[in-house]
Amino acid sequence: MSTADSTLPISDPYRLGYRGPNLARGHGGGGPATKRVIVGYGFWLFLLSDIVVFSCLFAAYAVLADATAGGPRARDIFDLDRVAIETACLLASSFFCGLATIAVAQRNQILTQAALAITGLLGLAFLLLEASEFANLYAHGDGPTRSAFLSGFFTLVGCHGLHVTVGLLWLGTMMAQFLAKGFRPDIGRRFLCFSMFWHFLDIIWVAIFSLVYLVGTRL
């Protein structure tokens, strides 16, 4: 049966709050959204779910923050200088990721590759600094098995580090795809997701920096 017949009268019983037809695609009655919107929207939802994962880890850290079991407290182990450099690296890498977005919009292969390479190198620097912090703690016997507080700390910060690692893997794949496939629409959508992911890691890091490191050294 054809439901595309346009000659039928309209008798919508649910008119309350109806403000006329909205013909933008992907809203109200406007029909399916564009692929770029669909992909971006779905990835936003994924990021939201990832934020829920982190919020659980934050909650667990908050619950366990005082459970040091005779081990070191937060202010005994945090080195704010190192963390400040880490933060600078990550935020700068986000800036270069933004430049890469502009380069992609301009279809400029060299600029894209350069901006992405710097993004990746800064991310790698962040990761190495974090690894050295972890190694340092291990060396002093303050690994995650020492106390519940350290378990929560290592898991929260380590989970962010794991995300950065996966992001670097993705970034490398992305660079190779731009080289091999050029600026195709589907690669562009994928890059949209990557840049959202990379900025999302900043948001999480800002929360870690404030709630774990800054608050931790004050307590």
Binding site: M1, V53, V63
Partner: protein, 666 residues
């Protein structure tokens, strides 16, 4: 080389799991051999295993769910028979085996039975009802399904290699910590649930995007069928709740594998944190299951009463009300664990309030039936059975939400009876109704009514005989999960409950017979019009089974229940509207990505359970390689030309025209 895995992992001294495993293996090998011998292997590979068509994925989900439901039901039979025999005796199941059975029963029924069934129905129905060609991310959908299948496979592997968890369907620490559960059972649970949980999360993301972003033109929010609303609410809950499960189980995993101290007794760990976190997922999970079930009943009751759903807008509001409040009641799962009177009062009141949303729905269904021309088909019977059963279960739930009452009957069979009343009466009945209701849409022929009714009456009677005695037993003080007991007062009620499960077996037999008889007589039961129930929503506007592109031309929706309006006009004019202009359709290409991902996920999961680290690394590399290969493909879509679309739609229009002419002459 093989980590903890050795020959001692095979339970050679326990005949029951070995025989069961051998039988399942033989059946599976038999099916594979039959498929290859009949030359059907390419068909299954191309049309099913690598399919990204939401209808095929939905059907595979339902099949997986039914098989796991059956396995969980066998566990139920073993528990009932053990308790019937274990009065002043050992029964036939030793404690360590009995503990695995009740743990597996809960895990399988909720996570690998009910979830795949509900998600499978959503998969099949939602895009059709929205007038969409597929879900937003078809390949991701296939990945979701196969990851769920991986989880189910791991649970079932534990039957013959190693053991399953003995700590209940939720692994409460410190019992589930390495010190008290040193075996691989909890690890099987953790990795199976974790892997399938990722699949479920991806499904949630996929369907929220589908429902919010790719509805047919004109399908505004308040024109969406009720089932789509409930699916949306359920998937929003998945996105918000499943990450909590992922994080919680990850913490327990770190405790067990790397000696962390999240939930341990030592070094400042906090076991209550686990209980809070797991129920922050666990309570929404209940509504993830039951909200789509409410949607199914809404569709079935409206169709078979011949009326639009009463109070559609209040139904939408009730659904979203439940969606939000379901996050505010988790503590009622552990009133007795020391939160104190004030906190208990808040959560007790919240738990009472959430019943209001369901009450609104009940009245809406009743008023939908009021004054309607009700047809008592199988799906309608299941819906009516649901309404009575769910009200009883809901009321005992309101009782349990009162903290002082909860202190009396918590952890008893009263609780077990309550949640079976709402989950079996709510979700399983809905799945049965949905299967009978949408089967003709999926396969082009109806299910046999007689066997369907028999299955319903056996199931309803068996259900009450099994679970009503448990209320009594709970009040008599019988706690749950008892392997044996010596209280004489309990024994007769336990026996009655055992009789109930025998009646339920009758129901299962009728259900299987219904499928077998219907398939054998499919030509008599054939429906050519695509609208066997005189339906009201868009899925009945296309042929049965729907073509791969669902709709030859995307519907232009101008009304709530638009299809019903179109049909009414066609009936008055005794002819269909004019033939649409067919255009070429772009559809996603099939992809083995999901299957290959799951293949590697299975190895990663198995390797992690048995500490076979090289295999784990190999599996992870394989999974990454799969993603890269998928990302590298150049042609993700193919085009179906207009002159291939036209004849498919014309055949359906012809059948509908004949039906119209037939109706006009009689």
């Amino acid at each position: 080389m093989l980590g903890r895995l050795g020959w001692d992992a095979i339970p050679l001294d326990q005949p029951i799991p070995l025989i069961a495993g051998a039988v399942v293996m033989l059946i599976l090998l038999g099916i594979v051999a039959w498929v290859i011998a009949r030359g059907l292997a390419p068909y299954f590979w191309n049309e099913w295993i690598t399919s990204v068509d939401h209808k095929h994925i939905g059907i595979m989900y339902v099949l997986l769910g039914l098989v796991m439901l059956f396995r969980g039901f066998i566990d139920a039979i073993m528990m009932r028979s053990q308790q019937a025999l274990a009065f002043h005796a050992q029964g036939y199941l030793p404690p360590e085996h009995y503990d695995q059975i009740f743990s597996a029963h809960g895990t399988l029924m909720i996570l690998f039975g009910a979830m795949p069934l509900v998600i499978g129905i959503m998969n099949f129905v939602v895009p059709l009802q929205l007038g969409a060609r597929d879900v937003a991310f078809p390949t991701l959908n296939s990945v979701s399904f196969w990851l769920t299948a991986t989880g189910a496979l791991l649970v079932n592997i534990s039957l013959v290699i190693g053991e399953f968890s003995r700590v209940g369907w939720l692994p409460y620490p410190p019992l589930s910590e390495l010190r008290y559960s040193p075996g691989v059972g909890v690890d099987y649970y953790l990795w199976a649930v974790q892997i399938s949980g990722i699949g479920t999360l991806l499904t949630g993301i996929n369907f929220v995007t589908t429902i919010l972003k790719i509805r047919a033109p004109g399908m505004t929010y308040l024109r969406m069928p009720m089932f789509c609303w409930t699916a949306l609410a359920s998937c929003l809950l998945i996105i918000a709740a499943f990450p909590v499960l992922t994080a919680t189980l990850a913490m327990l995993t770190l405790d067990r594998y790397l000696g962390f101290h999240f939930f341990t007794n030592e070094a400042g760990g906090n076991a209550m944190m686990f209980v809070n976190l797991i129920w922050a997922w666990g309570h929404p999970e209940v509504y993830i299951l039951v909200l789509p079930a409410f949607g199914v009943y809404s569709e079935v009751i409206s169709t078979f009463s011949g009326k639009p759903l009463f109070g559609y807008r209040s139904m939408v509001m009730a659904t979203l009300f439940i969606c939000i409040v379901s996050f505010c009641v988790w503590l009622h799962h552990f009133f007795t664990m020391g939160a104190g009177g004030d906190v208990n009062a808040v959560f007790g009141i919240a738990s009472g309030i959430i019943a209001v949303g369901t009450g609104v729905k009940m009245y809406n269904w009743l008023f939908t039936m009021y004054g309607g021309r009700i047809r008592f088909t199988t799906p309608m019977l299941w819906s009516l059975g649901f309404m009575t059963t769910f009200i009883t279960g809901g009321l005992t739930g309101v009782l349990l939400a009162v903290p002082p009452v909860d202190f009396m009957v918590h952890n008893s069979l009263f609780l077990v009876a309550h949640f079976h009343h709402v989950i079996v009466g709510g979700v399983v009945f809905a799945v049965m109704a949905a299967m009978a209701y949408w089967w003709p849409k999926a396969f082009g022929f109806r299910l046999h009514e007689g066997w369907g009714r028999a299955a319903f009456w056996f199931a309803l009677a068996g259900f009450y005989v099994t679970f009503v005695p448990m209320y009594v037993l709970g009040i008599l003080g019988m706690t749950r999960r008892l392997q044996q007991y010596d209280v004489a007062d309990w024994h007769p009620w336990v026996l009655v409950s055992g009789v109930g499960i025998v009646i339920l077996i009758g129901g299962v037999i009728c259900q299987v017979a219904q499928l077998a008889v219907s398939i054998a007589h499919r030509n008599e039961l054939r429906d050519l019009t695509g609208d066997p129930w005189d339906g009201r929503t868009l899925e009945w506007a296309t042929s049965s089974p729907p073509p791969v592109f669902n709709f030859a031309v995307l519907p232009q929706v101008k009304d709530a229940e638009y299809y019903w309006e179109v049909k009414r006009h066609a009936r008055e004019a005794a002819r269909l509207g004019r033939e649409p202009d067919y255009e070429a359709i772009e559809m996603p290409r099939n992809s083995p990505t999901g299957f290959v991902c799951a293949f590697f996920a299975t190895f990663v999961g198995f390797a992690l359970i048995w500490h076979i680290w090289w295999l784990m690394i190999l599996g992870l590399i394989g999974a990454y390689a799969t993603f890269v290969v998928f990302a590298w493909r150049d042609v993700p879509e193919y085009i179906i030309p207009a002159d291939e679309v036209a004849p498919i739609d014309r055949a359906n229009r012809e059948a509908r025209q004949e039906a119209l002419a037939g109706a006009a002459t009689t």
